[in-house]
Assembly symmetry: C2
Amino acid sequence: MTTTLPVATGACCAPLVRAPLGAEDATRLAGTLRAIADPARLRLLSLVAAHEGGEACVCDLVEPLGLSQPTVSHHLKVLVDAGLLTREKRGVWAYFTLVPGALDSIASVLVTTGS
Amino acid sequence: MTTTLPVATGACCAPLVRAPLGAEDATRLAGTLRAIADPARLRLLSLVAAHEGGEACVCDLVEPLGLSQPTVSHHLKVLVDAGLLTREKRGVWAYFTLVPGALDSIASVLVTTGS
């Protein structure tokens, strides 16, 4: 491991096919997975990552998602609370970016093939 | 890509940080993520993978999980329906194995770092 990136709240452990997943780790990981187990939230993560500079405000996300601003704000809050997005207020808008390493931490628990 | 492994029902697409995730792909992936966004089901995947020969029957899984057999059977059915486990009836018991590549397909959509 050479990374020093922050780790998402729900990320935990060795690949689940390699070592038995304990009850606590399973509960934590399931919580993070619930945060992304929603089509709108998956698309939000994708849209934020694809946006210029890797950050986006609600104002950038409402139209591509086709949902109301309060609904988009709700989904963004779920992703922030799960440790997947950071939120930074600048002027009128809050700007969202991916937490580095957060999605990779989830992926690393699911992956079954070694590197 | 050199793999010819079967692909899980819910797996889809390029890493979501690289290419915008479409509505249909997002719905499909969210469905698969919902199947694993549960502590008991994550532990079941882990237990099946760790079991001798990479397969296990309900009889092997009830005790380590500490849940009733009908509850374990329900969770196993959710994982089979999501394309993550296969079920093979042999004699009295049904035996479950991981669908090769299924968890890796989910991981490959979430991962943000290139290979």
